[in-house]
Amino acid sequence: MTTYSRRHILAAGAASAAVFGLPHIAKAQAAGRVVVIGGGFGGATAARYIKLFSPNTEVTLIERDPSYITCPFSNYVLGGIRKLDDITQRRDPLQQRYGIKILRGEASAVDTNAKRVRLKDGGQVNYDRLVVAPGIELKYAGVPGWSEQAANTVMPHAWKAGQQTLLLRKQLESMADGGTVIVAPPANPFRCPPGPYERVSMIAWYLKTHKPKSKILVLDAKDAFSKQGLFVSGWESQYPGMITWIAGKDGGKIESVDPKDMTVTAGFGKEKGAVINIIPPQSAGKIAIDAGLAEANGWCAVEPTSFASKKAKDVYVLGDASIAGAMPKSGTAANSQAKVVAANVVSSLRGTTPPAAVFHNTCYSLVTPEYGISVTGTYRAGPQGVAEVPNAGGVSPMQANAAQRKLEAEHTAGWYAGIIADTFG
């Protein structure tokens, strides 16, 4: 094991720069001011790695919320195997250990010509390079009959973790044994492709252990989903008879909902739910759209080599808000893209050649607390965008013994601890 600490690394970086300086042209450019909008897995990782690559660069992270309640592992709050506190993360180390300035507030506008971000409270910040990582916006109007008010009272989305997670959990706790839980995932693309199906698994875990006569009905807008074979096989072995999944082509797509009656109308007809979880269609976070960084489809086009915006100079968009080719909208993907962005930001400030982009994704899901499955991929920039490296990656084997599933469940927890450390320091 190496024994030096991150503090030493920073000290070394600063000392080196002081001793040797940064010659001529690079001197002014190498430092630079970087503003990052959004302190989730993408934005926080980008801020941290910019500082690791270039300790002299001034990094300001604009973030609305005081703490970060992670979407990963929020399904385990629903299943009753984690508490909200367990998935609530602090960003303080970014400021304390890395010298990133955290600006609490909401970015309300970006002037990409003047290179300036305006805040809702009236403040403004100038940048040399801007990193936009706002995550997603939920499209409440995308489900007729549903609304933000309905989501906050009777039909939660729980697709941004926090109060919504607790509301859905409370509804599961309140429902009578024998009721039907309806989960309605959206069409692609959306945040966390395996998420709805892990959610179904975790709700099934809670019901199996507390309300075993209950059922889950999955009304899907899609005809196929992430890790489908593994999930369906896991559901059959762990929760026999409890879960029914209806594909979009078989009438699963929801056409409208009635929050007063607690009913949903799908292609096949009307269904009443004791608990109804609507996962709506999504777009890039509002600030990305307001800044003119999004395409007509609501997502932001980027260069696959750098995640530089195709719409504005010296602006990078990463994570869920970006159009990332073959990469899913996941925390690991955002974390990986953020490292590529950090390297490109620092290289462009220095005027050096940026390194070749390589990206990684791993998404673990739990079928039960001791039954984990995964999908991984390695990606590179290709002519058509970010493309998966062929003959690599893929999902857990369909045939595996209980010990292997348990090992992947342990790695699920290991991944979580790792990405929190890698993102927030």
Partner: protein, 119 residues
């Protein structure tokens, strides 16, 4: 493996990569893609430095030791390379490492092993 002197401080003392100093990865060695490796080595962040950071998300960094995932920093380079190639060829069946190692050429795995051994 224990080191009494931080390689970073050593780098500063020796003036390694005095131009375009980076907080991490000034020991980045070997080239990862085709082309500009030499310029990168002299001026900035190398391909292998960037690629190696992808491991951190699960395995932690030199300063964060995962309670669950095997540590990968500071091992002997040959041991690491042997492990990676055994994952790649399924000689060492495990969970996701075979799938990940198959995303890289043997030359790239060698460069990653060399980097991780030194950083």
């Amino acid at each position: 493996m224990h080191r009494s002197v931080s390689p970073w401080l050593l780098a500063a003392a020796l003036g390694v990569a005095a131009y375009g100093l980076v907080g991490i990865g000034q020991f980045g060695i070997g080239h990862f893609g085709i082309g500009s490796a030499t310029a990168q080595q002299r001026n900035g962040i190398t391909d292998i430095t960037l690629a190696a950071q992808t491991c951190n998300v699960c395995h932690g960094s030199a300063s964060y030791i995962s309670p669950t995932m095997p540590a990968i920093h500071g091992h002997d380079a040959n041991t690491l390379y042997a492990a990676l190639t055994e994952f790649k060829t399924d000689k060492r069946p495990y969970t996701i490492m075979g799938r990940i190692a198959r995303g890289y050429s043997d030359e790239q795995l060698r460069a990653l092993a060399d980097y991780l051994a030194k950083n």
